[in-house]
Symmetry: C2
Subunit: 192 residues, 2 copies
DNA sequence: ACAATAAAAATGAACGTTCATTCTTTTTTT
DNA sequence: AAAAAAAGAATGAACGTTCATTTTTATTGT
């Protein structure tokens, strides 16, 4: 127990360091030695937890993606109405993207570059299923536009990534009232 | 003249090679030697055209961004109505993102990573002004929601980046009829 | 018009550095 | 005392950049 605990702490420290360094410097300027230093570990120790650098960044991606979806669906249950369920999920996602912005930023970087390998990307997509199911239900009930789920995601969810990025860059600040505007825009772009 | 022409060709070849390699392999796996090889040039020659690797990628970004905005506003004039002007611009942007996807993909990568330095990012933003002006006009006329331009961009334009990326990954194909859906979603998310 | 010469552009090889990874030894845990 | 975990130093490869040289282009004097 104590031994396993210690290992998990170290693994988490490595993942945290990876996120922070890749966010700030990019993958190309994030050497293993810096990751090790930030996690208070020897470079060699990384290789006890991960096969190599690619494996480290893949696993980091999967880890963060799992956190993201778990957070998103935390308060959602399938017995909610389509509109209410969507609002619940959307606001959780907004919370995650704007408050846990280190994690969200890392995902944005991974989703827009070829640094994560295909199997790991696939692995990350899986957990989004509850939202897709909700949308299918909404389409059947005639509440949601009969469009591809990609289009729905593009308009209802993805804008939050852009806003998170703009906020991270200090370009602007999303206030609570604007968040309500944003939600209305999201809903009106996908509702029938 | 002949000499200058030759130089511009070589510069363009270098920029094209940079885009292609960074798109496919990422910045971290794009050595100067590969860029040189793809542009049919000696590595040393790159340094006659650009200060260093950072400068090369900065200049590439600015170059592509200028192409993007120039394409976007090609058929737009300020005497158009807000709604018509927006449709014109939106569809040009959609064209660019979906047809010139190599260029669009490169921009997406740059806009979601720290590989481009701040001054070059600022330089790239400048040319978007006509769209922001159009939106300001739309707000005054009560046609467009009175929201931050960041929010408007997030909902009206940014989804196209996501769709371009999904299409590039082969996840799905955006048909002409879906494009019309997409435009309607964009417009309904920002109109009053 | 044309050699001769200067200037510019381009090259391949070389340099010093940095990196991911491994090896050997030490420390910690069982 | 054995096994597992961790460490620091070592290694070889790869990288960005520069150097010495060659090739191409432009300029000059006749």
């Amino acid at each position: 127990m104590a031994q396993l605990q210690k290992s998990i702490d170290k693994r988490n420290a490595l993942i945290k360091a990876t996120i922070e360094l890749v966010n700030n410097n990019g993958f190309h300027a994030t050497p293993m030695s810096k990751i090790a230093k930030m996690a208070n570990v020897s470079p060699a120790t990384i290789y006890l937890y991960f096969e190599n650098k690619q494996d480290l960044v893949n696993k980091t991606y999967i880890d963060v993606k799992a956190q993201y979806t778990s957070y998103a669906f935390e308060t959602y249950t399938t017995d909610m109405s389509v509109e209410h369920g969507f609002e619940i999920i959307w606001k959780r996602i907004a919370d995650f993207k704007l408050n846990e912005s280190e994690n969200a930023m890392f995902l944005a970087q991974c989703d827009n570059t070829p640094i994560i390998d295909e199997p790991s990307l696939q692995e990350g997509i899986k957990h989004l299923q509850p939202l897709l199911d909700l949308w299918e239900r909404g389409k059947k009930e005639g509440l949601i536009k009969n469009m591809s789920n990609y289009l729905l995601y593009a308009y209802a969810i993805n804008p939050l990534s852009f806003l998170m990025m703009a906020q991270k860059r200090g370009a602007f600040q999303l206030e609570a009232s604007q968040l309500e505007d944003a939600y209305q825009s999201a809903w009106s772009s996908i509702k029938n």
